[in-house]
């Protein structure tokens, strides 16, 4: 068994993975419960064969059963070693989080700001803050990635990327 002493989080390290798996299986159980609950609102059996609610119900039950088995397995089985890279460092977690946040932000603003501005901001942030690249490289990649890609996709490939829905920006060709 591998040991990674500097990574223990207050509890015995052998228990750590156990705890993680237990928490995860509770999430699966909660999800199954939601599924079963929702499926009861739907028609269970239609005139010919299973109705809309049939599969959600049984899939929910199956998932719950499997999660329970997993929970038991993880709880009574021999403790598992924490994989060396299981817990991200503080910086690593921040990087993951900021990518997710930036992607959600992009999805949110792309129809307002238009593709070009949104992508410029997206790439600029990722490269400077996460990639720690210099301003020259960042500017080059971000401009090609936003204005360049927009041009190539809309003009050459005939694929639409959104223009801004703000009249002023739209008139600027953004």
């Amino acid at each position: 068994m591998r040991h990674s002493p500097e990574r223990s989080f207050g509890c015995e390290e052998d228990d750590f993975m156990k705890r993680v798996y237990q928490i995860a299986s509770f999430f699966f159980l909660a999800f199954s419960a939601y599924l079963v609950f929702e499926s009861r609102q739907m028609e269970y059996y239609a005139d010919l064969g299973p109705g809309p609610g049939f599969f959600p119900f049984w899939l929910g039950i199956t998932l719950a059963a499997l999660s329970t088995i997993w929970l038991v397995q993880a709880s009574i089985g021999s403790p598992q070693a924490i994989e060396d890279d299981f817990i991200p460092g503080r910086r690593g977690a921040l990087r993951v989080l900021s990518i997710v946040v930036m992607m959600v932000l992009f999805a949110w603003v792309v129809d307002f700001l238009g593709f070009q501005l949104s992508m410029l901001i997206f790439l600029g942030f990722l490269l400077i803050v996460l990639g720690r690249r210099g301003p020259m490289v960042t500017a080059a990649v971000a401009i090609v990635g936003s204005f360049g890609v927009y041009y190539v996709f809309t003009r050459w490939l005939d694929v639409n990327l959104p223009a801004s829905s703000i009249e002023f920006l739209r008139n600027l060709g953004l």
Binding site: P56, S67, I69, R91, V96, M103, V110, L127, F153, P162
Partner: protein, 502 residues
């Protein structure tokens, strides 16, 4: 018209300058995708779909197919040179391939891999030529009950083989089926789990889900640790010795056959083929304990199997319209976007297109063989692009690709959500291949079940009274039972196969 004549006609179309160019571009882009860690063939092909929206149908499919099998070649390069698999099918090649590189035999490993891939790919394409047209004619006997049974068989095999823990594989399989429920149900047209979003009525966008699972999640995993730049081994002489060729001959033959037959079964992914081939070579070898120290058999077999698989997997797609792996499902999406439905009638209604694509598979395999070896230096340079720039570029491309499929910002949220989910699943050591496959096959199975029951006025007996579906279902039950018996849920983890990712 005979099939040979058709093939000749296919060649005449595929050899047109325009289509050669599409095949060439596809091969190049595919290799880049294979080389880049973090973008596998499924995400990579999906990523590049928008490029083909307004190409002629034949050119679009030729290009996407080339991207698909090009990625299979490309993945090997990084496995051998830097011990970083570019895609999952090449994971096992790291074991002996990189050891060979450390001994100064990287060039030999790469050329044997390329030759094996070429042979595997070409033989499988030959098999496709011979077997597909009669299969397509036979496939008319496959009605909804048979489709249902065949998909059930594929899923049971996947469950039986995939993952270190069958419980986890099953859980992921069920999660995939649940994700497939989203949208209008095929019975009443009732929206299920759509949360009032019109965007979800057609179900979760498959391309975004795949790119999230297999593209974004990998990036999240990579950026979590301090990114280090990998340094590659030097490429020495490419020429294999007489002994190398002799040692590789049988592994290549066996790999070709193994990959071909596994490719035919829906639910098997290329990485299953390459892992099984490695295990087989180890078992057959006189020196099994030397595996992992740079045995050429450990490179030749899996690489061949993987490429043979890739081409053979087109058979169930072309003849029945069943996608065997997530990557093939992406390809199927491209067919449908171009107004072509893969299935029994494809050969009949669009012979020019199908045969042109098949001919392009031969051409592409030759192209990759000729191009890849001299260009290895160039691919290594691609890897010199710092990851701190690369990750942003890949993310930007997933965003563009995901948006342009439906022209919808909603899909970007799907992409992000599944990137995050994939990341968490991978952290918890869940295999992702079962989710993707059941997500694709689940709705098709529910529809087939519904169709069958309407045909039989609600009698389940339709599945056992028809000989083909009955046989397939019995097989599926046997497989499920035997794998369940081998791994009792409370036993220790049985390591069978390896984790099959895509």
């Amino acid at each position: 018209m005979g099939d040979l004549q058709n093939l000749m006609m296919g060649f005449s179309i595929a050899l047109s300058l325009q289509n050669l160019l599409f095949a060439f571009i596809g091969c190049m882009m595919g290799t880049v995708i294979g080389v880049l860690p973090g973008v596998g063939p499924a995400a990579g092909t999906a990523l590049l779909i928008p490029l083909t929206f307004h190409l002629p149908a034949t050119g679009a499919i030729i290009m996407l197919a080339a991207i698909y099998y090009g990625a299979m070649y490309g993945g090997t390069i990084t496995s051998v040179l830097m011990n970083v698999p570019g895609e999952a099918s090449s994971v096992v090649v790291c074991l002996d391939g990189h050891q060979m590189a450390l001994k100064g035999r990287a060039g030999v490993a790469l050329s044997i891999a390329a030759i094996g891939s070429f042979i595997g790919g070409t033989v499988a394409t030959l098999g496709l030529c011979v077997a597909a047209p009669p299969l397509a004619r036979m496939a008319l006997n496959f009605g909804p009950p048979e489709f249902f049974a065949l998909m059930a068989l594929g899923l049971s095999l996947l469950m039986g083989l995939a993952g270190k823990s069958i419980v986890k594989a099953l859980m992921m399989g069920v999660v995939g089926l649940i994700l497939g429920l989203v949208g209008m149900d095929p019975v009443r047209g009732m929206p299920r789990f759509t949360f009032g979003q019109a965007e979800l009525l057609d179900g979760l966008e498959f391309v975004s889900v795949i790119m999230g699972f297999f593209g974004v999640s990998d990036i999240l995993l990579t950026v979590e640790t301090e990114v280090r730049q990998t340094v590659g081994a030097k490429v020495s002489s490419l020429m294999p010795t007489r002994q190398d060729v002799r040692d590789s001959a049988w592994p290549i033959t066996r790999g070709t056959l193994l990959g071909f037959f596994l490719g035919l079964i829906p639910g098997m992914t290329g990485s299953i083929s390459s892992f099984m081939s490695y295990a087989m070579e180890k078992k057959m070898s006189k020196y099994p304990d030397k595996f992992g120290t740079g045995m050429i058999e450990g490179v030749a077999g899996p690489e061949t199997a993987n490429n043979s698989h890739a081409n053979a997997a087109l058979i169930p797609l072309f003849t029945m319209g069943i996608p065997g792996s997530p990557t093939i499902a992406v390809l199927m999406g491209a067919f449908i976007m171009n107004g072509l439905v893969p299935g029994p009638l494809l050969f009949k209604d669009h012979p020019d297109l199908v045969w042109a694509v098949i001919a392009s598979l031969y051409i592409g395999n030759v192209m990759l063989l000729i191009l890849n070896l001299p260009l290895i230096g160039m691919w290594v340079k691609v890897l010199k692009i710092p990851y701190s720039i690369l990750f942003a570029i890949i993310l930007a491309f997933t965003l563009v690709g995901s948006y342009s499929v439906n022209g919808s910002a909603f899909d970007l949220k799907t992409l992000t959500l599944f990137g995050l989910l994939g990341y968490l699943f991978k952290k918890l050591d869940f295999p992702l291949a079962p989710v993707a496959l059941t997500f694709i096959l689940g709705p098709m199975m529910e529809l087939a079940l519904r169709q069958s029951l309407i045909m039989s006025q609600g009698h389940m007996t339709i599945f056992v009274s028809r000989p083909i579906s009955c046989g397939l279902l019995i097989l599926a039950v046997i497989i499920l039972l035997s794998s369940a018996l081998r791994t009792l849920p409370f036993g220790t983890e049985a390591v069978r196969g390896e984790d099959s990712q895509i």
